[in-house]
């Protein structure tokens, strides 16, 4: 995580739940202490909701999170995405609320895919109180050798022109470094991002979370690096 200022407003939350690992990456608005406070608050709320949930449905979890935050004027739009990995079944569930699409590297194919899962930001000021946002949960296969990359919009500089922002230029790096583990992939991405030419300083916090399932080991042993 590379905060823009002294206090970052991105957050990462990892919650073990039985055999599953639930992860969230998010971006609270603004900078400084308020942004940092909101980020931590949302992370903690996410953790509580994961632990309280009966059957874990990520879409319902985002809906509930949106409902709780929207009830307070204090909060502004928060983008986040979350995943739940069931290592035994080799299935990854994904839900998104306004974050850039996550990326999954398949060792079988030797290639990366963006996972286009859409969703409105949480606590959007444009929300219709009578028609709250609907989130979808998508499922994808994830096995040994596969690598998942979750990111905040600071990395892709999504609000920049496509030609100038960093975008998804990191996909070949994931393919090249996948066999070296999550840390190597994450460092390669951040090194390339830092070296990317851009006018002035970067505009937002940058967060990358890489999750790799080691090759040749049971899928149940997950390697998680921040």
């Amino acid at each position: 995580m590379l905060p823009k200022g002294e206090v970052g407003a991105d957050f990462v939350e990892a919650v073990p739940r039985g055999d599953q690992l639930v992860l969230a990456v998010g971006d609270a608005p603004g900078t400084g202490l308020k942004g940092g406070f909101v980020a931590r608050f949302v992370g903690n709320l996410f953790r509580r909701l994961v632990k309280q949930a009966g059957a874990l449905q990520l879409a319902e979890l985002l809906t509930e999170l949106n409902r709780e935050l929207s009830a307070h004027d204090y909060f502004e739009a928060v983008s986040m995405q979350c995943v739940a990995l069931d290592p035994r079944g080799g299935i990854l569930a994904v839900a998104n609320a306004g974050c850039p699409y996550p990326v999954l590297y398949s060792s079988r194919r030797g290639r990366c895919d963006r996972l286009p899962v859409r969703g409105e930001v949480i606590c959007s000021p444009l929300q219709d109180p009578h028609a709250p946002p609907r989130y979808e949960q998508r499922r994808v296969e994830m096995g040994p050798g596969d690598v998942l990359v979750l990111l905040s919009d600071g990395l892709i500089e999504g609000h920049a022109r496509r030609a100038e922002g960093y975008g998804y230029r990191f996909l070949p790096l994931v393919e090249q470094n996948a066999s070296r583990g999550a840390r190597a992939v994450g460092e390669a991405i951040l090194d390339a991002w830092r070296a990317h030419p851009r006018p002035g300083t970067y505009a937002d916090d940058v967060t990358v979370v890489v999750m790799a399932v080691p090759l040749g080991e049971p899928a149940a042993t997950q390697e998680v690096r921040r």
């Binding site: 699409y101 996972l115 286009p116 859409r118 920049a160 022109r161 496509r162 937002d204």
Partner: protein, 325 residues
């Protein structure tokens, strides 16, 4: 010591009763107190100058901060509450992709050119109802806005701002006074460049009889695509007569094959499903060996569905209504 001159945040010109606002680079990246000034400058247009029709051009923008995006959202809310109308234009594809990811395309009206926006600001837009199973969202699109006044349309397609599905509407559909249009094709994205498509009238050279829908998979059929395949199958109105066309499938994983098998076995609403595979992909055919519903000839797949009931012989339709209802 001379003070650094304040940047110009917005450049406003007038086109009749429409205010055309060109946002400057400095406005789109302003932070802290400057961001507040930008917001105030935009709000003043509505609050002080009484602007009710506003075209917001992003033509000069190289970068858009999250703070400025929040300002645009707040401005949209303010204009709508006035009541008035705001249209965005000249938005870079990279920035527009962010709108899509965050579903802001559902909220904002975004047109390619400033001229389009000026033309559309007074148009009576229509909304269309997404025909995809489980979606049912009403939405507008570039075409519904620009062509709403036409009585007959050229073939056009609409992207659902809720689920992202694209549906092509029959060019012969009359719009004025109509309650629905005929959808020729519905396309649901899986991975980048890959999709599941639902055709009412197939583009096969030996077109099957009316009443048979083709659900065609282009790309991989794995768990991620399998859920979309099911949604596409459910989009076909019952009683379904469906051929799942896997001739453009490049890969079939276990969960993908399971989904095909499950759809073939579903008899709900008197549904019948056959599968079409290409002879040139023996590995794919081998994965489905032994399935009675699998064929390598389109005509055989259609014949396998048996008699086509009269209720199945109806096209997929898209309901329309005036925008804002």
């Amino acid at each position: 010591m001379s003070e650094k001159p304040r940047p110009t945040w917005i450049d406003v010109s007038q086109a009749g009763d429409v205010a055309v606002v060109h946002v400057t680079r400095s406005a789109a990246t302003a932070d802290g107190g400057f961001a507040t000034e930008v917001r105030r400058a935009l709000f003043n247009l509505v609050d002080e100058r009484g602007v009710r029709k506003l075209v917001l051009s992003f033509a000069n923008l190289e970068h858009l901060s999250s703070t400025f995006l929040g300002t645009v959202i707040a401005m949209h809310k303010r204009v709508r509450g006035a009541p008035g109308r705001m249209i965005l234009c000249e938005v870079d594809p990279g920035i527009y992709e962010v709108f899509e990811m965050t579903k802001l395309d559902k909220i904002f009206t975004v047109l390619p050119l400033e001229a389009d926006a000026l033309q559309a600001i007074d148009a009576d837009a229509v909304e269309t109802l997404c025909p995809v199973h489980g979606c049912g969202a009403w939405g507008t699109s570039v075409h519904t806005i620009l062509l709403a006044s036409s009585t007959r349309l050229l073939p056009w397609s609409i992207t659902c701002p809720e689920c992202g599905a694209r549906f092509d509407v029959d060019g012969e559909s009359p719009v004025a006074g109509a309650a629905s249009l005929v959808a020729r094709k519905v396309s649901l994205g899986t991975y980048d460049g890959e999709r599941v498509e639902v055709y009412y009238q197939s583009e096969w050279s030996n077109c099957p009889p009316r009443g048979v829908y083709v659900v065609e998979l282009v790309g991989r059929l794995d768990l991620f695509a399998a859920d979309i395949l099911e949604r596409a199958w459910l989009t076909v109105p019952p009683p379904r007569r469906v051929v799942i066309d896997l001739r453009k499938a490049v890969e079939l994983t276990g969960p993908g094959a399971d989904m095909v098998r499950e759809l073939c076995a579903r008899g709900e609403d008197d549904s019948r499903t056959a599968v079409l595979v290409g002879k040139e992909k023996p590995e794919l055919a081998a994965a489905l060996t032994g399935w009675p519903a699998v064929h390598d000839d389109p005509a055989a797949a259609v014949r396998a569905l048996g008699e086509i009931p009269a209720e199945a012989k109806r096209p997929l339709t898209v309901a329309i209504r005036p925008a804002g209802k």
